[in-house]
Symmetry: D2
Subunit: 191 residues, 4 copies
Amino acid sequence: MKSIAVLFHSGFGHTTNVAQAVVDGIGAVADVTSSLVEIDADGELSEEQWAELDAAAAIVFGSPTYMGMASWQFKKVADASSKRWFTQEWKNKLAAGFTNSATMNGDKHSTLHYFMTLAMQHSMLWVGSGLMPANSKAATRDDINYVGSFSGLMTTSPSDAGVDEAPPKGDIETAKLFGQRVAEVTRDLFK
Amino acid sequence: MKSIAVLFHSGFGHTTNVAQAVVDGIGAVADVTSSLVEIDADGELSEEQWAELDAAAAIVFGSPTYMGMASWQFKKVADASSKRWFTQEWKNKLAAGFTNSATMNGDKHSTLHYFMTLAMQHSMLWVGSGLMPANSKAATRDDINYVGSFSGLMTTSPSDAGVDEAPPKGDIETAKLFGQRVAEVTRDLFK
Amino acid sequence: MKSIAVLFHSGFGHTTNVAQAVVDGIGAVADVTSSLVEIDADGELSEEQWAELDAAAAIVFGSPTYMGMASWQFKKVADASSKRWFTQEWKNKLAAGFTNSATMNGDKHSTLHYFMTLAMQHSMLWVGSGLMPANSKAATRDDINYVGSFSGLMTTSPSDAGVDEAPPKGDIETAKLFGQRVAEVTRDLFK
Amino acid sequence: MKSIAVLFHSGFGHTTNVAQAVVDGIGAVADVTSSLVEIDADGELSEEQWAELDAAAAIVFGSPTYMGMASWQFKKVADASSKRWFTQEWKNKLAAGFTNSATMNGDKHSTLHYFMTLAMQHSMLWVGSGLMPANSKAATRDDINYVGSFSGLMTTSPSDAGVDEAPPKGDIETAKLFGQRVAEVTRDLFK
């Protein structure tokens, strides 16, 4: 059984909703397990959480996009991962990423490409969303990948939406399919 | 009178619509003129068009986002601009950029950041959209900056929408405000 | 036997040197073959070349960095690959990338991240250099990964160096190790 | 008299050396003043420091590149700047940026482009290095802009170099010219 660690920070809970949906999607795939590794408000992880990352076959990075980039709490963990970088301990793990913000675009690409840069420094492999976008005239906000990302998963939660109402169901369904995609690649990688 | 050159390529006409709206927005500002400098289907400009760029106080770069980046025709002009780069002929001109694609996100950030990279190689100054996004629950597709970009202008035209119906009016209005922003900064810069 | 296609454009021959070294590195790995798929000066590939890409288990993208991005010839092929994108024909292939330019930094990161964006649109997996940088006081220009890239391979050829003298031997050795890295991951992927 | 605030974080002191050289370069330009606004080890600024940023005509962002991006301490300040973002308080200020890391490339472009993204969210204008690179065969490590950046200033300090010996003198001279460039544009902008 291969394990996938979903390493994420959430400021207000919307990103937690996405992380949970990703885990739900992973759950649909046999021979793969998953766990939520949540970064706290001070940007810290416990030793047990670091151990979960070390043991995982794949790590999914998740964070809100704040001011055009992953939150400082996520970055604090990324900086602390330099210890693993020196020894290239995460080499050949699979990596993927997701981000949530209030604005449709809102520089979410910037956060996902940072996750890719981080993964490459760790010599991990990167897998994206694997999903085509909904971009015709008939497309609606509830469609799969309406937000329209390839490098990873992007979800959009309106600035005044509570954690019980955002991101919308289409984005949550997209998150599940993204989790499934990551799980399938994890399962089949270096088999 | 300072002049602004809108240097753009359009594959099917949607980006032309945006370029025209940018020019309309520039037209609302006194003491600034503008011109459309359209790149042809072979990625070429005439000598007269190059001269317009050389004479302009500001150059606005525009292109569809195809496969995650400006079109090859735009890039051909960028490559040909290396002649100006060697002599830093465009140093201290203002630069800005816009892009249109079918998908809400669709890696449009990638195109705008390339435009920024190009501008920086030419030692130009960069100005973004200067527009806050429409990102509340009440926001609609017709609002100003609903697509939600800061680094420049992003518009979204559905994949099956004709040039007479896309991008939608909210994006066109956003393009006008973007043109106005660029014109105001051009007028007041290095006064 | 899995095959790796090295899809590249070279303006003056320096990038061809790198492509050849990547192929040499691939040659050191058993159970993997490779081929050079060179884009011509008009940005065109023959039908046979497209077929080689379609048949490959992995595609390595290579281009000089001109004005902060892959050459327009490379971009023309990327744009033409939209036909494969619609059908997601390259889904689950491995992707990697390299770039050469005259300047140590010179926005080479921009080219590699574009290659990553392109690969993600095709739902490919991405593998980087897997190489630690030479960055101590004792490091020399001839060391492995002195240019210092993770997301892919970067080489630097002085602006006035002929194709028989650049990139320098350290970069060529780095290119071989990069080729070997890509070959090993290709061999072991989805085994 | 226009003022320029150099907002920076330094982990070990090398980035402080660069910040000081930038300030020295600013000092060579008449009618412009400058101040160092250093972010502390907890990612905090005092109220007086925030007031300095608010009062400045230009803000220069500076940070080491750690794990492919600005340090978490810098990001914490960027996140806290969302209060200014809501009111667009920094609109039309000039922005520029610099970064230092151990590796020649080492994803420093990623940090500078994040600084650009941040500046664009604040509706600031961006100015780059304005310096051509030293990239011929005769170029040496002590030349101006040998590291070779356009979007902002990049310096490289070997991983085992003390703060009294790095970055090398060529990079320090480049930092002074960069400071001078930012000062000249600040002085002449919106005159």
